[in-house]
């Protein structure tokens, strides 16, 4: 006797859930091993340099980068620099120390206050926090490149995809290092990598901050949490329009914050715009791959 039709279960496809982070899930072991290979290939095979220079703020991105560098080059060839400014929180310094202690990498602290204030205090006392942040970021990258020259190493970038897409970084500072392992990983994916690599919990659990003012957080500056921003970003970059995301159940205001930031910062993800004059313009006519 066949079952009655009414008794058959109906198995439904899951409804779209804007809270789901499924699209952001990575296999952290696979990613970590791949990034270690990437670092070795780019630095050692590609450029003949086997020493990494990392600016270690004590935040999650630079901590993860330092863990990856220690794996790729060995702690003896990884140099982590703590580069505090006068307003940097002591907590950041102690978190950075936790990382260097755990990994056994070289650690050095260079206070950039005199360097930054040589300009700011002397000539621009009224600079806004945004401008101070940019000056500090550019001072730090100056130090990192100089230390690279001194130590025959390469500065390793620490910027993630979320801040790159949102334009939440200082142009030609955070994005200046020639090698960046995290640049195609959303913030929520960096967290997964951090858990896998064993980054200290205190670093994973604290709110990300540019550390310019007390209580300042990235998410406060941007106006949306990284978790929400990533869920929107990942879909925008998969070809969904902003309107479509609202239709799918995302908050219109939040989609707008992300969309405005993305669409207003394309220039920040490029080299400077050069006036095309000749038919041999670099990267227009004269084309060579980066590893040619």
């Amino acid at each position: 006797m066949p079952a009655t039709i009414d008794s058959l279960p109906i198995i439904r496809a899951p409804r779209f859930d804007p809270e789901s982070g499924e699209l952001l899930r990575i296999n952290p072991e696979l990613v970590a091993n791949f990034l270690v290979r990437f670092l070795r290939d780019e630095c050692i095979r590609g450029r003949g340099i086997s020493r990494a220079i990392v600016g270690l703020s004590g935040g999650i991105d630079s901590s993860v980068t330092t863990y990856l560098c220690a794996r790729a080059f060995g702690p003896e060839n990884t140099h982590a620099f703590r580069l505090p400014y006068k307003v940097s929180s002591p907590e950041s310094l102690s978190h950075a120390r936790e990382v260097t202690d755990a990994l056994g990498v070289h650690e050095r602290t260079i206070d950039i206050t005199a360097m930054a204030d040589g300009y700011l205090s002397e000539s621009e006392e009224d600079a806004s926090p945004l401008r101070i942040g940019n000056v500090c970021a550019r001072c730090r990258i100056t130090v990192l490149f100089d230390q690279s020259a001194k130590l025959n190493g390469l500065p390793i970038g620490t910027g993630n995809k979320t801040e790159r897409m949102l334009g939440y970084f200082t142009w030609h500072a955070d994005d200046a290092p020639p090698i960046n392992p995290l640049g195609d990983l959303y913030k929520m994916q960096v967290y997964q990598l951090a858990e896998y690599l064993g980054v200290p919990e205190a670093i994973i659990n604290k709110p990300p901050t540019a550390d310019l003012l007390e209580g300042q957080t990235d998410e406060g500056d941007i106006g949306i949490s990284y978790a929400k921003a990533d869920r929107i970003l990942v879909r925008l970059l998969e070809g969904h329009s902003a309107e479509r995301l609202v239709e799918l159940g995302f908050e219109e205001k939040e989609v707008e914050i992300v969309w405005k930031r993305v669409s207003g910062t394309h220039w920040k993800r490029h080299l400077p715009t050069v006036a095309l004059i000749s038919s041999s313009a670099i990267n227009e006519f004269y084309l060579r791959p980066v590893d040619f």
Partner: protein
């Protein structure tokens, strides 16, 4: 455009057309009440699959199947419902293994297309060429949910059929099947694993939805696997059910995903741009003195 599709995985009552038409109609009504715009039923659901010469006793015309379903759906559905149903069909003096796409409204019914099985398995446990005639066409046809194509069982196992359907404009492929379980060494039946790979590959290669309904039940010791799935245009299974059980799958089909998939992976557009060369290669193979194998 969006619509809700149901894939109904049920076991037929062997060789009992009257009982099966009742059950299919009842399931169609339930799908409609549940919000479905399309209900897909497995291959040969109106009779069972292994009938040998008995196909002559259960085969009906598509018009007959339409009329029998319409009679049972009239007054029972409140909104239009499309049904794809597999059965042995009488047509122009032949018997075919077919799938018919029939569009029902509360008061009317129209056959949109009948697909007659193109590849008839005649090896191992299968003997279709002996009992049914072969369909000659792979067609895409228009529905109120965009362009569709249907494939039946072994049709799915040849990538060329889905390729033709996609080239003819299909945005959704309905794949119905009756597949007796073989290969018990893995986590699931080997032929069901194979099906999953095929269905996902079809969607992924051509950027289209695949709605699959599989027969279940035993016929003379041969147990049909079931394991129906609905696959999105990226090749991801959006809903699936257990093997061998009876159930109804339900999923919202968003045709905007077809465009998104094809934009991201323009395999079909790439194929269109080289089609002339592909056709020439096929022609050469066809005309070769010793075609393979």
């Amino acid at each position: 455009m969006k619509f809700t599709a149901a894939a109904v995985q049920i076991a037929p009552v062997k060789a009992d057309y009257a009982a099966n038409i009742e059950r299919v109609a009842e399931a169609a009504v339930r799908c409609s009440a549940d919000g479905a715009d399309l209900a897909v039923f497995p291959e040969t659901v109106l009779s069972g699959y292994f009938l040998q010469g008995g196909v002559a006793e259960v085969a009906v015309t598509a018009e007959q199947a339409k009329a029998d379903l319409a009679e049972r759906l009239t007054g029972k559905i409140e909104r239009p419902l499309d049904v794809v149903v597999g059965f042995y069909e009488r047509h122009d003096g032949h018997i075919y293994n077919c799938a018919a796409h029939i569009s029902f409204s509360p008061s009317d019914a129209e056959i949109l297309h009948v697909h007659r099985k193109f590849f008839l398995p005649t090896y191992g446990v299968f003997d279709e060429e002996r009992f049914v005639a072969r369909g000659r066409d792979i067609s895409a046809y228009s529905t109120r949910f965009g362009r569709f194509a249907m494939l039946i069982c072994e049709d799915t196992w040849h990538s060329v059929t889905a390729t033709i359907a996609a080239l003819k404009g299909a945005q959704t492929i309905v794949a119905v099947a009756a597949s007796p379980a073989r290969g018990f060494s893995g986590e699931s039946f080997a032929n069901l694993d194979h099906y999953r790979r095929l269905l996902r590959a079809i969607s992924e290669e051509h950027g289209l939805w695949t709605i699959n309904a599989m027969l279940v039940g035993f016929e003379g010791g041969k147990g049909f696997t079931g394991g129906s799935v609905i696959v999105d245009p990226f090749g991801k299974i959006v809903v699936e059910g257990p093997a061998t059980e009876e159930f109804i799958l339900s999923a919202e089909i968003d045709l905007a995903e077809v465009a998104r998939a094809r934009e991201k992976f323009p395999m079909l557009a790439d194929l269109v741009s080289v089609l002339e060369d592909v056709a020439r290669e096929m022609q050469e193979v066809n005309e070769a003195e010793c075609p393979q194998p």
